[in-house]
């Protein structure tokens, strides 16, 4: 009996020690050798990003010229005033616009500038006096008696970051300084709506994060027209010649790009990198057969058929194999004499003056008719294309497609035509505001959805470089939002671009491919031949020990009783 008991104890000890080895050595070893490497990701910071609270702040200086304030008002004038405007877009996104307004009187130099004969000259000399930084604005309040502005114009928006505002009678009536400022403020705000960010632009830029309720169709079309923010754009001008038998086309595209396009692009260089090239494509037809319309005495393309024009042409355009930047196409189509003149009709069946149309987020097409040049003998003629006419159309389309929207003209506003560069400073600012916000919104969605993806697939490997990209994206995002808050627009855009690049690099990393990893069921199919023969006897033995222990305890209990 005693030996049997010793034997049983030995067996029990053996079972327990095997179980201990399995649990203490085997399972950790298995765990360590089969875990996937998952680098640490800043999860809490990513979760904070899911809730985006943007604060855009613009510095506004309101300068009162001589004759707009009384002397005692002038003494008290140096005040600053901060005004916040909160907008809740949805539960997770909120916007705050902060206008930091500084009031002061004009300096002597500025007074001199304001006494120039015309608004254009004033604008120029004010600009030479002091250059205001990116994103800030200066509004000069000039007396009603000033002859700078025409009779029916109250506001002059300059080429740079200045505006002239003529105060009407209401400031005259105001006694105290506060009353004056209160009267001026709504007018200044109107100017800001034109020259700085507007709520409409900013919400459109948030389109990646926020599903907007469809507004008016026109607004929706506006917001869908321009290209998404991209680190670079490739602009290609293509000359389409449907039949080189009839005409040899010559275009001085190099000169035209240098004269018309390059100034605009160098002005836009803070926003993105641009590259321009051109090509000539022969035997390229439009996808639609134009019908002869006797009422217009021309072949016509209706609005409905324009949608079908692009597809067959696009196969010939050539994709940009060498880069992943967004591609903008501008096509100049010169119809052959059998189909000439070719006119584009609008919805009301009227001829479009420019004879051109654009396709949202794709590019523009212009039809260039050459009439009366052809000789009867069928020999090919040389045609020199008037590049000024063509580039005028393409430049307007380029501005639209890049997101430089002409804001709706307001009554009483006179907007100075953009200078030789084709873009005013404040237009660039508006574009930079919306691009920064768009980049921030896109980068946050990319990072949060990446985190979500990695969270869902728990056996995906997260390499250190991905974690590093994510961290740098988050750091850049935080810097970008901080710069937006402090109103440093140029830096904000720079950081937001870095954020978007880092986040995309992390998101599209080839190592994050789900198909590279085994699903769990297959993994366990491989483990089972090992696990089952080892675990079943062990578990059974342990169960037996447990039942014996249980039995003994019960026996003891019974004895006690």
């Amino acid at each position: 009996m005693a030996t049997a008991e010793v034997e049983r104890r030995r067996a029990r000890l053996a079972t327990m020690s095997i179980a201990a080895v399995v649990i203490l050595v085997g399972i950790p070893l298995w765990w360590r050798t089969t875990t996937t490497y998952r680098a640490w990701l800043p999860v809490t910071q990513i979760q904070e990003l899911a809730k985006l609270q943007l604060l855009l702040s613009a510095d506004v200086e309101v300068v009162f010229a001589r004759g707009t304030l009384t002397p005692e008002q002038q003494k008290k004038i140096t005040v600053t005033h901060t005004q916040d405007e909160d907008h809740d877009i949805n539960g997770e996104t909120s916007l705050t616009y902060r206008y930091e307004t500084r009031y002061r009187t004009a300096t002597i130099m500025e007074e001199d500038a304001l006494s120039q004969p015309s608004a254009v000259a004033t604008d120029l000399s004010l600009h030479t006096l002091s250059e205001s930084p990116c994103g800030s604005l200066v509004v000069y309040v000039i007396p009603e008696s000033s002859s700078l502005l025409p009779q029916d114009v109250d506001v002059y928006v300059g080429q740079r970051r200045t505006a002239l505002l003529r105060v009407a009678a209401e400031t005259k009536a105001a006694k105290t300084l506060d009353q004056v400022l209160a009267a001026v403020e709504p007018r200044v705000k109107e100017v800001l709506q034109v020259m700085s960010f507007s709520h409409h632009d900013i919400t459109a830029a948030l389109g990646d994060r926020v599903r907007l309720s469809p507004g008016s169709p026109q607004r929706k079309a506006d917001s869908m027209r321009s290209f998404k923010s991209s680190p670079g754009y490739e602009i290609t001008f293509s000359l389409l010649n449907p039949d080189p038998k009839w005409h040899r086309l010559h275009w001085d595209i190099e000169g035209a790009v240098r004269t018309y396009v390059q100034p605009l692009l160098s002005k836009l260089s803070p926003v993105a990198n641009f590259s321009v090239d051109s090509q000539m494509l022969h035997y390229t037809m439009l996808g639609v057969n134009a019908q002869f319309d006797a009422s217009h005495d021309a072949y016509t393309l209706s609005v409905e058929s324009l949608a079908h024009v692009i597809n067959p042409v696009e196969a010939r355009l050539g994709s940009n194999a060498a880069s992943s930047n967004a591609l903008l196409n501008f096509l100049l189509y010169v119809p052959d004499p059998q189909h000439s003149p070719l006119r584009i009709l609008d919805h009301q069946k009227r001829q479009v003056a420019s004879n051109a149309f654009h396709s949202p987020r794709w590019g523009g097409i212009m039809v260039y008719n050459v009439n009366g040049f052809y000789e009867a003998n069928g020999e090919a003629v040389d045609v020199n294309i008037n590049m000024a006419e063509v580039m005028g159309v393409f430049l307007a389309q380029l501005r639209l497609l890049l997101g430089v929207h002409p804001s709706a003209p307001r009554a009483g506003f006179l907007v100075a035509p953009p200078g030789s560069s084709g873009l005013s400073d404040w237009e660039l600012d508006r574009l930079m505001w919306s691009r920064s916000v768009e980049n921030v919104a896109t980068a946050t969605t990319t990072i949060t959805s990446l985190a979500q993806l990695l969270d869902q697939i728990d056996n995906i490997v997260i390499n250190d470089n991905i974690a590093q990209q994510v961290s740098s994206a988050i750091a850049s995002l935080q810097l970008a939002t901080a710069e937006l808050e402090s109103g440093n627009l140029a830096f904000a855009l720079q950081y937001s671009k870095e954020a978007i690049l880092a986040s995309e690099r992390a998101f599209f990393d080839p190592s994050l491919l789900h198909l590279l990893y085994f699903p769990n069921d297959q993994k366990f199919a491989i483990y089972i031949p090992l696990f089952v023969p080892i675990c079943v006897p062990l578990v059974l033995a342990l169960l037996q020990i447990m039942s014996e222990v249980h039995q003994r305890r019960r026996d003891k209990q019974a004895k006690k009783d």
Partner: protein
Amino acid sequence: LGATFLLFLLLLLLLLIQKHMIVQPLLSGFFQCGRHVERAHKLSHYRLFPKSLGQVISKFSVRELHISLTQGYWRTMQWGQPYQPSPPGAELWVWFQDSVTDVDGTWSELTNVLSGIFCASLNFDSINSIQPSASFKPLGIGNVTDHRFLRYATLPRETVCTENLTPWKKLLPCGSKAGLAVLLKSEKLFHSSFHSQAVHIRPVCQDAQCATTSWELRQTLNVVFDLYVSGQGKREWSLFKMFSRTLTEACPLASSSKIYVDVSDNSEVLTAQAVVLGDRRTFSVYDLTQKSTFGTTSSLNLLIRWKSSDAHMLRPLLHAERYVAGYRLQSGEIHTLMYNNHPYRSFPVLLLDLVPWYLRLYIHTLSVTSKGKTNRPSYIHYEPSKDRVKPHTLEMLVQLPPNSVTEVTVHFDRILLKWTEYPPDPNHGFYVGSSVVSSLVPSIVAMDTNATHECPLFNSFFPSKEETSYFVRLYTEPLLVNLPTPDFSMPYNVICLTCTVVAVGYGSLFNLLTRNFQIGEPRPGVAKRIANVIRKMRGVPPL
């Protein structure tokens, strides 16, 4: 640097496009070439040069690019020397500008982009690319010959089909809408014995002074139709029969567009004579830019009938072939045979071999013999492979004695790969790319260059007219080598087997350790047990 600088300060202007086609007798070889020369300012405004290739050139700082996609093998002994030599499958060799710092990285990016442009899967990286030291020299102007900037790779298994032809046609300024390219219908072109399309880009001189340079893009297509078989033994062919199309016009952008028909064997109308690859041939020339070529029907269909049934063709002076010898899956031998058929002249050839790392070459077994005697190569360049990093490069200069066969043999071992490194269908075997044999072959024909001035492009294919020798590049057959191939259910079998072994061992040990051993009563015998069962049934106490 001077050359690069010049190259980027050019003007935008079109020079010329020329398209030529040679129709050869015998098997009716067809050969077409488009050539555009573009002077481009920083290569961003294109007139005839395709934009997609121009962007590739400027982005990857390419100095020279040669890509060929070939279906079938050019049979030198039957068809003569190839007009545009190319190995079966895909071949790419690129010279980069000397401003490129990371040549390997640029090379793999470039091949990815080219795969996209030509719809091919050119998976070239440093594992299958080499830097030949002598065999591939730049064909354009420029003086950089440091082979660090050269990359060469082949894919013998690449299949060429319609999807590769379409992007090639798209590079032509007139596409397939006008000119000779109208004939290129893929269903006819691929119903042929040999099909090879190629794109060559190189910098060339703008004028005689060579003050400015421009880019030349040359597109060639080389097709061999076996009309003798498909035409029931009749020795005749026509354009319509071959392409089911006729020609109606030249591409209006072309400055020259001609068809050359080799009529050496039944020469009645002699229009042009040229010495092609050491052989004097007679061509009749059809100029598509002339209205009179098309006649009254305004369509051109050429039909040629041969009077004699056998054709004269010069036996190629240089010829090469290659095979794998040896049995079993452990080792083998690569044999390369080079034939010099010249009766009395010996000449040197450059042999280039690119052997993948999974054949382990033993270079000490390299032997070169001709006419039973050892032939010492005067130059050997050998770079050993590194497993999974780079292939073997073997390059040598061998003098071929007249009227002889020179045999180059080298032993190799076959390697057992990791199971993930086998391609799909590994039992098909592994391809080893063709050897490249380059040589200046002495010409037999006395030179006569009277009639050749009128066709400058035509002669630029065969730049040999005034020399007493001409350049030939030959490709041998690719090799198909079997490697030891495992059964691919192996990993799971191994897992199951080892698990079972572990389980059995562990199970017995576990049992031994945890069982209670007790002394038991010996079991009664069988008869006693049966008796007991019966007694139990009867209700009698057991024994």
